[in-house]
Symmetry: C2
Subunit: 684 residues, 2 copies
Amino acid sequence: MSSTDPLVIFTPSGKRGRFPRGTPILTAARQLGVDLDSVCGGRGICSKCQVTPMFGEFPKHGVIVTPDALSPWNAVEQRYKDKRGMKEGRRLGCQARVQGDVVIDVPPESQVHRQVVRKEATARVITMDPATHLHFVEVAEPDMHEPSGDLERLAAALRDQWGIETVTAPPSILRRLQPVLRKGGWQVTVALNRDHHDHAARITEIWPGYADHRIYGLAIDLGSTTIAAHLTDLRNGEVKVAAGVMNPQIRFGEDLMSRVSYAMMNPGGAAEMTAAVRDALDELARSIARQAGIAPELILEAVIVCNPVMHHLLLGIDPVELGQAPFALATSDSVTLGARDLDLAAMNENARIYLLPCIAGHVGADAAAVALAEEPHNSDDLVLIVDVGTNAELQLGRRGRVLACSSPTGPAFEGAQISSGQRAAPGAIERIEIDPVTKEPRFRVIGCDLWSDEDGFAEAVATTGITGICGSGIIEAVAEMRIAGIIDASGLIGSAEQTGTPRCVAEGRTHAYVIHDATATGGPRIAVSQGDIRAIQLAKSALYAGARLLMDEMGVDRVDRVVLAGAFGAHISTRHALVLGMIPDCPLDKVTSAGNAAGTGARIALCNIGARAGIERVVREITKVETAIEPRFQEHFVAANAIPHATDPFPELAKIVTLPDVSFNTGGRGDGDPGRRRRRRSRG
Amino acid sequence: MSSTDPLVIFTPSGKRGRFPRGTPILTAARQLGVDLDSVCGGRGICSKCQVTPMFGEFPKHGVIVTPDALSPWNAVEQRYKDKRGMKEGRRLGCQARVQGDVVIDVPPESQVHRQVVRKEATARVITMDPATHLHFVEVAEPDMHEPSGDLERLAAALRDQWGIETVTAPPSILRRLQPVLRKGGWQVTVALNRDHHDHAARITEIWPGYADHRIYGLAIDLGSTTIAAHLTDLRNGEVKVAAGVMNPQIRFGEDLMSRVSYAMMNPGGAAEMTAAVRDALDELARSIARQAGIAPELILEAVIVCNPVMHHLLLGIDPVELGQAPFALATSDSVTLGARDLDLAAMNENARIYLLPCIAGHVGADAAAVALAEEPHNSDDLVLIVDVGTNAELQLGRRGRVLACSSPTGPAFEGAQISSGQRAAPGAIERIEIDPVTKEPRFRVIGCDLWSDEDGFAEAVATTGITGICGSGIIEAVAEMRIAGIIDASGLIGSAEQTGTPRCVAEGRTHAYVIHDATATGGPRIAVSQGDIRAIQLAKSALYAGARLLMDEMGVDRVDRVVLAGAFGAHISTRHALVLGMIPDCPLDKVTSAGNAAGTGARIALCNIGARAGIERVVREITKVETAIEPRFQEHFVAANAIPHATDPFPELAKIVTLPDVSFNTGGRGDGDPGRRRRRRSRG
């Protein structure tokens, strides 16, 4: 290019250069590294390279653009516009050629690496660069004098036309290659899946001619209880369908440890659970494709995040080693394999499945996904990320250093092992307030927007009933009981006399607080028992002890902010969590919920191949802390039994609530002694 | 090492170096690049590193070796000797340490890259370096503070202890990894399969502790008619079992083209044939493992060579494109895939299958294997290699340039479409001589060493009977008939009057020559008909025309030598082949048989991974000549109809035989006109 050549300026990137007259805009964009899409490689077929030329005076750029700065609108553009429509003012970048100085705007939908704003509050963006891309190619016809195979000529075309060096084809593509090439008249569209390790490209699908298919990936969050999947458009990152199913492994054990036990006790038990979860995934994929109205063959990828036990069971690995020290993973690195390896039939048979790396035997690919979504390694302030499930997975860090551990909270936070507990489902009490004076409760149940003391509540809940307390409900109940002086700092429920409310009723040698009693009409009595308080104390002590252990390891007394991840984190009241002492003392406005951060991490890894290599690097640099062998964990655990925990002053908590100084500890009554419950529960 | 360190000299390599006292011999060998085996990595377990120290005066090497030049025989060596036995004078290279100047002989069985002398006459050697090797490793135990996965620690051990950079494990290995590591007390033996393209090593098998298993590969020659396999010990190249079965696809068509037609005419026909050949391969592998008395899991590799149609049918690719110009292959490069991809269950589930590259649409992986075995690209003189099957595959070349083509000989050379023809089986006439004076034949049949005019012949063939003529028999018969003046140069059989023998009998408007007549006793009459002569003429003309076409392309009139490959080449009489004019005129002693060169090529590729990369390079440099579109092929074909062909003088042939100058062409009788038969047959 010489200085007399026309100047081409691209917006919004600002990239500019001089190009000889006659250069297609797409060519100029490519040479400047401007992010302008094209599937057909500049053949006027795909229309992905649409641009908006700008005319007039551009003092900022120092150019005046005249209407003849580009070659005239041509027949290819007219044909495309007639057939598919095109916005006014747009041109095809492959057809419009440079004639004079010009300013070219690349609209967002024409960018390959367009950015997708995540719906979550954090509003980070995902840059689209999935492992799978479509490429249209023209393949040389076979020649008896140069008898190379059709695959080799296709590979040569991909090399010449797209700069892709190494291409492989699985047997099923080899089988279909010849008829598809001939049907397409030696023009085909291939879906290529790149491997971020060896950069080899694998052909996962092939269509005759130019195929303007939408292609999809599934971001799957495979939890112990539920499996959630997002069908994501691999061109623009849009979620087409979100759906979930229960994890059918629940019939083998509610929590992970009981599933590990099932595997240990029953020959073939692990294989049974593997088959169950694979079936569920397959059925979920099938149902999602149906809901989206797409052929399952268009699902070309999946990213799966899960805890280590689910990870092993999905891969068909007996999880027995994860049930005992030293909690050795069979493999900790990321795993990439084929859909058929996991018996997933309801997607393309060549679909590639990527499992994120595991951080440790108790800190799985789901925690890695949370790290990918929340980026503690890029945080300027010290952030504690808490993902509460049957195990809590904790990450503490900032730029330069991240620590992780898991803590055996048990299932109490999920409403299990609570006398009136239940899963979060319509009819479950999810919010509760107790008047500190009257000690009377008011509450809300899932499925109804009214509080229980509001007009019309009884009618509104008539169909669902009031059936129990879910995880977030029990946390609020315990915290509210503490604020209202119904329990003391040690967690003991006072008697009716001590608390001044008849809702405190004797149950054996302890008391329970009755929230709702419908026994008169044949309904349930929903109460918080002393045992429930103890279960929550154990769970929150474990969670807090894990956080404290990481803080010790980091050498800090305070964290700057807390992120609650997971479905639980999305529903929990941060105020009540602070009262309970689940998390370290922290300004209330610095405790946020990240929603399903693991699922978000899966979507990021699905939409951006670079994120895979990135998180693999990050995971290797995370320092793992094993709670099971740290004596200080036990110390923190015991010390955190009180509500809130007893070891620290709570300046931030004091700003939001004043806790009554009551004590119901009458001495001698066994249950008042938290030490009796110090036993470590099995993990899971 | 300093000049006062002891000198260590290895034989037979002659490699030498000075090493500090105390250096194990194995270490010295490795540092000098001496080819000394070890599976256990010097732990005194595997005994593969046995050496023979030599004592006394070695004027050639300028050293005197005293008995104390090595550390004394130690307990590890004694234990090994007690348990497994060890030849007198041997030491373990990992145990014996340098104390003074020493000469160490490495016996052949201790060399990793030992050379295997092929049984074939050419006596070339195969250097053992298979894709699969065993490695014994000690793996670090899991550590809660460094929670890497078992696979990652195994990979680290292979890197540290064996220098292997990248290791992958298929799902089934992942599933078994944890129990095997624990059973072996963190010592395991792994079978690693290297890929010669990306050098990645894949774990294909894993055993607890040190496993002294023999591991095997199958070299498979997948022919249109028969499938032959050699079970080969991957440590030393020994063939443990050789076996074969008929290709069950024969029921879909005797020759390749009729199988292609079957695929075209019958929906699902190609899939049917794919299933049939895979079943047969699987059954063959199963039966071979049974014969060898080994577990099928110990078969860790297979190399398959075959023609393009078999190649495509095996891979499940419809061969329809190979049945019509331009004869496009789906893929021409080598193919590597898993045993499961080909439904092969009777070998290790992770066994890797390697198919050699195809040269062209009619010149397949079998021809590539012939090139690997016969190395025309390394030949100093100009060699013509002829592999006769239903298609003849021809290669002509020398160092610097190799040409290849295939020629549609049809099945006549295999005894098919011959009136008394049959496959080579007991009872078939395979050798024949005709007395030029009496015109009486004598012959031998397969399964009997006697000639038909020798005493005891009748008794010897009583069980098999005399049932027909096989391919080599019909060639000898036609050549002998020409030598004896029973047919003339145009191929016409004379009458009894013209030839002077009552064995020439009228059959319609032509004559037949009766070799054997048992009709009186209810047995067959075995004769050569005029139609048989014409079929052989067509076949040999095609073969010769292919050779001539290559010679034209090469710009030569003569070849220096001819190699006959294939089972047919092994049985054919070179003298008769020259008389018939199948091959260009050539000194008789320069026409040799290479036996099953394609099978040998498969064995070479199985035993030496470098040969795979090598032949892939060579194949790309072979110039392909397509007979179907070369007008000169047709000219040569017509000109070669006479016996011997009519275009050249035959100085070499004249040295071995004088052919009678007879002519039975009576004019007007249609069959005398070879032009009538000039039509090209379909290929196959």
